[in-house]
Amino acid sequence: MEVIDLRPMLAPALSLACGIIVFLVGDRPFWRRFWSLSAATVKLVIVFSMLPGVLQGTVYRYSMIEFTPGIGLGFRVDALGMFFSLVSSTLWLITTFYAIGYMEHEHERARFFGFFALCVSTTVGIAFAENLLTLFLFYEMLTICTYPLVVHEETPEAMAAGRKYLVYTLIGGVFVLLGTAVTYQWAGTLSLAGRGILDISVGTQALTLLFVSFVIGFGVKAAIMPLHGWLPSAMVAPAPVSALLHAVAVVKAGAFGILRIVFCVFGVELLRDLGLGVWLAVAASVTIVTASLIALTQDNFKRRLAYSTISQLSYIVLGAALLTPLAALGAIVHIANQAFQKITMFFVAGAIQRTTGKTNIHEFAGIGFQMPYTMGAFTVAALGFIGVPLTAGFVSKWYLSLGAMESGDWIFVVVLITSSILNAAYWLPIIYMAFFKISPGTHLRIKEAPLLLLLPTLVCAVYVILLGSLAEVPGMPLSLARTAVEYFFGQ
């Protein structure tokens, strides 16, 4: 059932307004905090208000402008979009709290929080985009809005990373635009409402090229190798930004774009006929394993996190590429699971950096005794990535693997298992460093992170366990993902 409703438009618009107000209030801390938190809260409330309807199959839509007939700006809330916006707005609220604590003594806070709030708006725009053009528009806006955050430190290193980020993502954007234009040419519509708008009659080769163009375009942000170069460099940004880039918005926007292309533009049937899924799955598998191997060698904590992100994102791509319902379910739910696990880790990285000034793993000896709660949260997230049952990571891995079996390609199950062993190989040494490295008898004083950094970290860690053990409770992300999958596979 489709309902015309103002809320799909209000969610991005109101948070956009709040973002602009943040710019206007400038350097008045109270009002800046007030409007930053309002932006995040308002969005969360609006998004949540649509959740019960979406779970029952209602689709909310709102069209704004038509540029030319059939092409316009429109918002539409289906289960997949709802899923993405729910995850990003929940995390955004938590991250805003963290950012307020983290950025306390930084410069240019008005700019930082202003753009931070603008990102809220654009991400939800991506999630709710009704057609490819709207998606593209917000996708590009996200790039622009995150640039000032990436270069926030304004060191030469940060500026270089920012340039690299822009070059990669803008070139990616060009490919998306190219794909969008070609799609319109062939399909006569850009709608993302169906289960595929393209038709095999266009020709296999042409469709393959179109698919590749889209995968390159969105793959830059989704960091499919070898398009991942910007991500490790962008680690110079402050921790809340890294959290935002990695867990919530930017990379997920890429992964979300790929999901939209696979399920809504091409459709499962067409991709099966074209036989393109396997190639994408292979590319994703290579990324999963290679990035994990590189992560093993990184000593800088945030760089290790960055390569882990690259590896984990390809879980989502792999799940989409397998073209089976269970794999798709795993892919979608991994958006949430990876987000909560990774954001916990970034919060930990930021808290350690702020409290002790340490950024390299070999310096972490004994840190578990100085910051027991922070490292406890890290341990939970690490166990999640390894895929220990009852944590969020297990749920994703379970459905992805079953989906891989369903597709008949058992090799991808082996890839997933290998990946979780590699995850153990690069996360456990950090726990070892933190809790077991120092010789017994040494007494370290507890020196925890400030509450504003610690609480968001702990909240996310608790979420990791809730997402794993209560996955089947209605209203949890899994139920929403299931609604989306049922629609895409026409069940």
Binding site: L402, E406, V414, I417, I421, L428, F436
Partner: protein, 496 residues
């Protein structure tokens, strides 16, 4: 059924105990010790309380919460699970009490006791898991969250052993997960019960074989089937003695327990016969029994020698189970309990030698019987049992295993059984000989004449004596209903 409602308590109680460790330690050391004993005894009592019902054939079972639309976290007690749970709970009580003496001057005791109690919770969870996924949940927690116990001493050797341990276990866990996912994919969501997972599923032979060997390789790492045993001889000497006891008696056995579940509840005897996979498994087990026993002989470090003995003895369990005859299965099941108490006791003795005399190596034990008469006497008794001397508990296991081999019309495995027993004599009796009859070594001579009134504190002697009593009781009175043998018999009759 209302009594089923206590099943979650079996797991929750030790977790509560773990949570209480730190607050109680704030009060006093004594409060912590009391709390630990109370919690362990209560947990043990709960588990034991289930036994009469299980023997009557009652089915305790409870579904807790959903993990997927068709799979629940499901707790269920069957005779085999009850056998393992009772063994674990009782051995844990001994180990906890022994720890009070052993760890008296140790460091980070709160961490040690917390994780020890958590490990009990996970073990009991493994025993009463009602389906494969629930099993996996507790199995993985048990594997990963015991790392702090393995490396507890934090010496360089302990850290290396810990790294080796976690590497082996994670890879093994990955294989188990792979196999479990394969099973759910091929057979659908089922529960452990009177029907095996694959009984009604139409599955191709290749897939079944792949899943089977994946399971064996995964669980085999923990069950120390050769050549997957690498972590065992390093982890045991490195860990604190009371945890070595648990490591040998329960942790390695948890791998074997997993294999038993796979053989019976996942595949079922019929299907295994059809697939013809039992024979290669039997051969692997036979090799493990003999080779590990031979490797044990030259080890000078006492705990290392005992670790190889564990590998060899756990081979018996797999050997017995893979023969697919009822008597051999009874022998295999009852050996899990018997071995746990025997090996636990031996490690407790080794712990007394380490803490009271500072002796780690067999060669330095010369003449120690004069200073530690009780400990050496118990060591001797338990060694004899391990070799299979009637009427001690080790004999009971061997007897049923032997009968089973004859039943299965494969008498040549008797050679393995006797060979293993012979080798046990070769690696254990020289220790006894050294302790009694050799001239006191330097280490022993350097010991002060009298260390208090007794050779060791009560907290260390009681578990040793308790273990010795169990070794005798489980041998002489093995037929008493409620003891492991009755559960093993029932398990062998009822498992698919």
């Amino acid at each position: 059924m209302s009594s089923s409602a206590i099943l979650p308590l079996v797991v929750l109680l030790p977790i509560l105990g773990a949570a209480l460790v730190v607050p109680l330690a704030r009060v006093s050391e004594r409060a912590r010790s009391t709390g630990l004993v109370v919690v362990t005894v209560l947990t043990g009592a709960l588990v034991v309380w289930l036994v009469p019902g299980v023997l009557r054939g009652e089915h305790y079972s409870i579904r807790l919460f959903q993990m997927t639309p068709t799979i629940w976290v499901h707790l269920r007690v069957d005779p085999l699970g009850a056998l393992f749970a009772v063994t674990a709970a009782v051995l844990w009580l001994l180990a906890v009490v022994f720890s009070f003496g052993y760890m008296a001057d140790g460091h980070r005791k709160n961490r040690y006791y917390s994780f020890l109690m958590l490990a009990l919770a996970w073990t009991l969870g493994v025993s009463i898991a009602g389906n494969l996924l629930t099993f996996l949940v507790f199995y993985e927690l048990f594997s990963i969250l015991t790392y702090p116990l393995v490396v507890h001493e934090q010496t360089p050797e302990a850290m290396r052993a810990g790294t080796k341990y976690i590497t082996y276990i994670i890879i093994g866990g990955g294989l188990v997960l792979l196999a479990i996912m394969g099973t759910y994919f091929l057979a659908g969501a089922q529960e452990f019960g009177t029907v095996s997972y694959f009984e009604s599923a139409q599955v191709g032979r290749t897939a079944l074989l792949a899943v089977f060997w994946c399971f064996i390789a995964g669980f085999g790492v923990k069950a120390a089937i050769m050549p997957l045993h690498g972590w065992v001889p390093d982890a045991h000497p490195a860990a604190p003695a009371p945890f070595s006891a648990v490591l040998s008696g329960i942790m390695v056995a948890a791998g074997s327990f997993g294999i038993l579940r796979v053989l019976h509840n996942v595949f079922g005897v019929e299907l295994l016969r059809e697939l013809g996979v039992a024979l290669p498994l039997t051969i692997l087990a036979a090799i493990t029994v003999l080779v590990a026993a031979i490797l044990a002989v030259p080890q000078n470090n006492l705990k290392r020698r005992l670790a190889f003995s564990t590998i060899s003895q756990m081979g018996y369990v797999i050997l017995g189970a893979s023969l697919l005859s009822t008597s051999a299965s009874i022998g295999a099941y009852v050996h899990i309990a018997n071995h746990a108490f025997m090996k636990g006791t031996l490690f407790f003795c080794a712990g007394i030698f380490i803490k009271r005399a500072g002796i780690h190596d067999v060669s330095e034990l010369a003449g120690i019987a004069k200073r530690h008469p009780v400990t050496v006497a118990v060591f001797t008794l338990t060694s004899l049992s391990m070799i299979g001397t009637p009427p001690l508990s080790g004999f009971i296991s061997k007897w049923f295993l032997g009968i089973g081999m004859l039943d299965a019309e494969q008498p040549w495995y008797l050679a393995v059984l006797l060979g293993g027993a012979l080798m046990a004599a070769v690696y254990l009796l020289p220790i006894v000989y050294t302790a009694y009859f050799k001239q006191p070594s330097g280490a022993v001579q350097r010991l002060p004449e009298r260390q208090g009134r007794m050779e060791a504190p009560w907290s260390m002697l009681l578990p040793v004596l308790g273990g010795a009593t169990l070794t005798v009781v489980l041998g002489v009175l093995a037929w008493l209903p409620g003891l492991p043998l009755s559960l093993a018999k029932l398990a062998a009759e009822t498992l698919p």
